[in-house]
Assembly symmetry: C2
Homo-oligomer: 129 residues x 2
């Protein structure tokens, strides 16, 4: 019983498009979370939640990590925890760091382009309200 969106009329739920907004940036975010050192799956989710506004489901992060690993952007190693299930720690490879730098560059450029586009909108907001 997940979605069940009734009210088609004045449906201004920000969630809908905000979710779309994030698409595609997740891969970059996952790489970025590993910049300072290795983390394991669930830890990455928590890291992103704290250091940005991204909230990923487990069903989201593991496919991303596998994808990135397949592409050689990161490596993984099993590490036994003091208690509970062993953890799979992910680390950036050199290729991963390189890629992340490129992505970061593109992100800045892309984000500046959009900001420029939104400038008139933001201006109006400050004035009119």
């Amino acid at each position: 019983m997940a979605n069940m969106r009734a009210t088609p009329a004045d449906d201004d739920q920000p969630d809908r498009w905000e979710a779309q907004l994030r698409k595609g940036a997740l891969e970059m975010a996952a790489l970025a979370s590993l910049w300072k050192g290795r983390l394991y799956g669930l830890e990455i989710i928590r890291f992103l939640e704290r250091h940005s506004r991204l909230v990923l489901a487990e069903g989201t992060i593991y496919p991303i990590l596998n994808r990135l690993k397949t592409e050689g952007m990161l490596t993984s190693e099993w590490v036994e925890a003091e208690a509970g299930h062993p953890r799979k720690y992910y680390s950036l490879t050199d290729a991963g760091r390189k890629r992340l730098r490129l992505m970061a560059e593109a992100w800045v450029s892309f984000s500046q382009g959009l900001s420029q586009l939104l400038e008139p909108v933001m201006d109006t907001k400050e004035i009119s309200q």
Copy 2:
């Protein structure tokens, strides 16, 4: 392994993830392009190409416009051109303006979150290379 991409080695095609990066921002961009006045379909594409870094296909923009129109975010009117095919001009409704302001806000917040995440990466870039 459904990919069939040749050169698996140092394959750093920016296109692949850059395309993903943009996902979800297109709706906002389409609304933003109409902020200063009405435009028709192909004109929106050209506008975004010039005022940001977004390049949309026709098969992308028309579904978006129809979606936004269905949601009451914009209206359309046929206008005969001096020559050639008549044009369908799109204009923002009040709801569209309101939505765009909200989206712009969310965008800024989202983009700041990601920028924060990327700060260490960008720092390294300046220093090491």
